[in-house]
C-alpha cells in the first residue's frame, strides 16, 4: 500500500467523442483508484455507456486521454488486446458464446490468451461458477439458462481472466425483474472482495449501497460526482435533482 493506492488505475482526461455531429462525450474527466467502486448514473443518451465502452476501446474517442495503469489505451504502440485482458467487461445483453458450454465460455480466454493449462482453467472456472452460484450448470449451453444465470456466467467469464478492474454496462437492464437480485448479489460480493468496479446502472439501491462515488452524467457531460449520500440526499445540480425525482 505505497503509491499504488494513490495512483489512479484509470485516468480519463478531457475526453471528446462524436457520433457524426453529436457529441456523445464532452470534455469528460474522471479518475478511478484501485479498489474503488464507481457507479455512473444518468438518463439514457447521457453518454454513460459510451464512456464505459471507451475505457476498453470498444468506442474510439476523438480526443483526450484514457490511461489504464498509466498506459494510453489509444496509442497504437500499446497492445490493446493485452490491455483488455486486464479489464473485465459485462454487457447488458450478456453476450455469452452460444456455441460453447458454460465451462468453455469461461476457459476459452484463459487457455488461449493466458496460456493456462486446460485443467487449471477448468478448476478456476468451476470455482468461479460456484462463487456465482451455478456450479451445477457447467456443462450446459447458454441457451438453457435463464437471463439471470446467463449474466452470472458472463460475470464469471470476465473474472476468469483475473482482471484488475470490472466494467459493467447496465448489467441488469435486460433482465426480468425477479432475476435482478441474483445478479446484483454477485456484484455486491465482488465489491466486498475489493474488486475495482465501474458500473453503469439504473439500480439506485445498488448505487447507494455499493458505490464509493456516484457519477451523474447528462448530455455527454459529468455534471456531479459525490458519495452516495451527497448525490442521493443532497443533489446540487438541477438536472440531477430532476433525474432523481423521476427515478426514485
Amino acid at each position: 500500500m505505497t503509491n499504488a493506492s494513490n495512483e489512479p488505475i484509470i485516468r480519463i482526461e478531457h475526453v471528446w467523442k462524436f457520433f457524426g455531429q453529436m457529441a456523445a462525450l464532452q470534455d469528460v474527466s474522471l479518475n478511478v483508484h484501485r479498489g474503488e467502486k464507481v457507479v455512473i448514473i444518468g438518463p439514457s443518451g447521457s453518454g454513460k455507456s459510451t464512456l464505459l465502452r471507451s475505457i476498453n476501446r470498444l468506442e474510439e474517442i476523438n480526443s483526450g486521454l484514457i490511461a489504464v495503469d498509466d498506459v494510453d489505451i489509444n496509442d497504437p504502440k500499446n497492445d490493446i488486446n493485452k490491455i483488455r485482458q486486464n479489464l473485465g467487461m459485462v454487457f447488458q445483453q450478456f453476450n455469452l458464446f452460444p456455441h460453447k458450454t458454460v465451462l468453455h465460455n469461461l476457459t476459452m480466454a484463459p487457455i488461449k490468451l493466458r496460456g493456462m493449462a486446460k485443467r487449471d482453467a477448468e478448476n478456476l472456472a468451476m470455482e468461479l461458477l460456484k462463487r456465482v452460484g451455478i456450479g451445477d450448470k457447467a456443462n450446459v449451453y447458454p441457451a438453457m439458462l435463464s437471463g439471470g444465470q446467463q449474466q452470472r456466467v458472463a460475470i464469471a467469464r470476465a473474472l476468469a481472466m483475473k482482471p484488475e478492474l470490472m466494467l459493467f454496462d447496465e448489467p441488469t437492464s435486460a433482465l426480468d425483474p425477479e432475476m435482478v437480485g441474483e445478479v446484483l448479489d454477485v456484484m455486491v460480493n465482488l465489491a466486498k472482495e475489493g474488486m475495482t468496479m465501474i458500473c453503469v446502472t439504473h439500480e439506485m439501491g445498488f448505487a447507494r449501497s455499493v458505490a464509493d462515488r456516484v457519477v451523474f452524467m447528462a448530455d455527454g457531460q459529468i455534471l456531479e460526482v459525490g458519495t452516495p449520500a451527497e448525490i442521493f440526499d443532497a443533489p446540487k445540480h438541477p438536472r440531477l435533482q430532476q433525474f432523481l425525482k423521476q427515478v426514485l
Partner: protein, 275 residues
C-alpha cells in the same frame, strides 16, 4: 437467412420451437416435416429409384445397357464436383472476408471479383478458360473445368459467407474483443463457428447446384456423366432412353446430397436444443 435463429441472446429464453422457418436455400427438411411419412423429398427419391428400377428390369434392353455404360462418366462428374468444392469453399470464405474488410483495396478486389463473375454465365466462363485463354495458356479440360466452376461458385459462396458472418450478433465480437482476443482469434473461435450454422445450408445447396452444373463441362468434351450420355445417344439414337436415365441419376444423387446437407444442418443446431 433465418434471422430469428441468429438473434442468439435472449433467444435462449424465447426459443424458436414450434416455429416453421422458411429456409433460405430451399432444400431443407425441418423437424416438423420430418415426422410425416410422406414428404416431397421421400416422394421424389422413391419415385426416381422406382422408375429407374422398373425401367431397367422391365426393359433391360436398352435401359440397363444405358445404365451400364454410364459409371465411367460418374467418376469424372464426381471428380470435377469434389475438386471444385474444395477450391470454391476457401475461395468463398476469402471473398466473404474480403467483402467485409475495412481495408479499401481488399474490399474493392473482392467486390469486383464478385461483380464480374456474377455477371458472366458459367458456360461462357468455361468456354473462355478452355478455348479463349488457350491462346496464352494451354490447360487440361479438368483444370479448366475446376477453375471455371470454382471461380464462379466462389463468388456466390462469398456472398453466403458474408451474409452468414454479418448475421452473427455484434455483441459476440464485442464480448470476444473485450476478453482480449484479437480480430483473427475472434473470427476463428467465436464468429465463424456461429456463422457456420447460417452458412452450411446455402453452401450445401451451392455444392449440389455445382454438381448439376458440372454437366456443362461436357461442352469441352470432358467425359463426364452428361458427355457419356451424349455420346451413347449419338451412337444409338436412343435419345429418350439415354436422357431419361441421365436425369434420374442426377436426381438421385442430388436428393441424397440434399439429405446429407439437412442432417449436417441439424447437427449444427446442437447448442439451441433445450434439455
Amino acid at each position: 437467412m433465418n434471422e430469428e435463429n441468429q438473434n442468439n441472446m435472449p433467444a435462449g429464453v424465447v426459443a424458436a420451437e414450434g416455429k416453421i422457418e422458411v429456409p433460405a436455400g430451399g432444400i431443407k427438411l425441418s423437424e416438423e416435416r420430418k415426422d410425416s411419412v410422406i414428404n416431397a423429398w421421400t416422394l421424389a427419391l422413391v419415385g426416381a429409384v422406382a422408375s429407374l428400377t422398373i425401367l431397367c428390369t422391365v426393359w433391360p434392353d436398352p435401359y440397363l445397357d444405358v445404365l451400364a455404360f454410364l459409371p465411367g462418366g460418374l467418376v469424372i462428374t464426381f471428380q470435377v464436383t469434389i475438386l471444385s468444392i474444395l477450391c470454391a469453399i476457401p475461395l468463398g470464405l476469402i471473398t466473404g472476408l474480403g467483402r467485409l474488410s475495412k481495408n479499401r483495396v481488399i474490399n474493392l478486389i473482392a467486390s469486383t471479383y464478385v461483380e464480374v463473375i456474377r455477371g458472366i454465365p458459367l458456360l461462357v466462363q468455361i468456354f473462355y478458360i478452355y478455348y479463349a485463354l488457350a491462346k496464352f495458356l494451354q490447360v487440361s479440360g479438368l483444370t479448366s473445368a475446376v477453375i471455371a466452376i470454382s471461380f464462379c461458385y466462389g463468388a456466390y459462396m462469398g456472398e453466403v459467407f458474408r451474409a452468414g458472418i454479418m448475421a452473427v450478433n455484434k455483441g459476440q465480437t464485442e464480448a470476444a474483443r473485450s476478453l482480449g482476443f484479437n480480430k483473427v482469434q475472434t473470427m476463428m473461435y467465436v464468429i465463424l463457428p456461429q456463422a457456420l450454422r447460417t452458412i452450411v445450408p446455402p453452401v450445401g445447396n451451392e455444392c449440389i447446384a455445382m454438381l448439376k452444373d458440372t454437366s456443362l463441362v461436357s461442352v469441352m468434351a470432358m467425359p463426364d456423366l452428361m458427355q457419356f450420355g451424349r455420346s451413347y445417344a449419338a451412337k444409338t439414337y436412343l435419345y429418350f432412353e439415354t436422357y431419361t436415365i441421365i436425369a434420374l441419376i442426377y436426381l438421385i444423387i442430388t436428393l441424397l446430397l440434399s439429405k446429407g446437407v439437412s442432417i449436417l444442418e441439424g447437427r449444427l443446431n446442437y447448442y439451441d436444443k433445450r434439455k
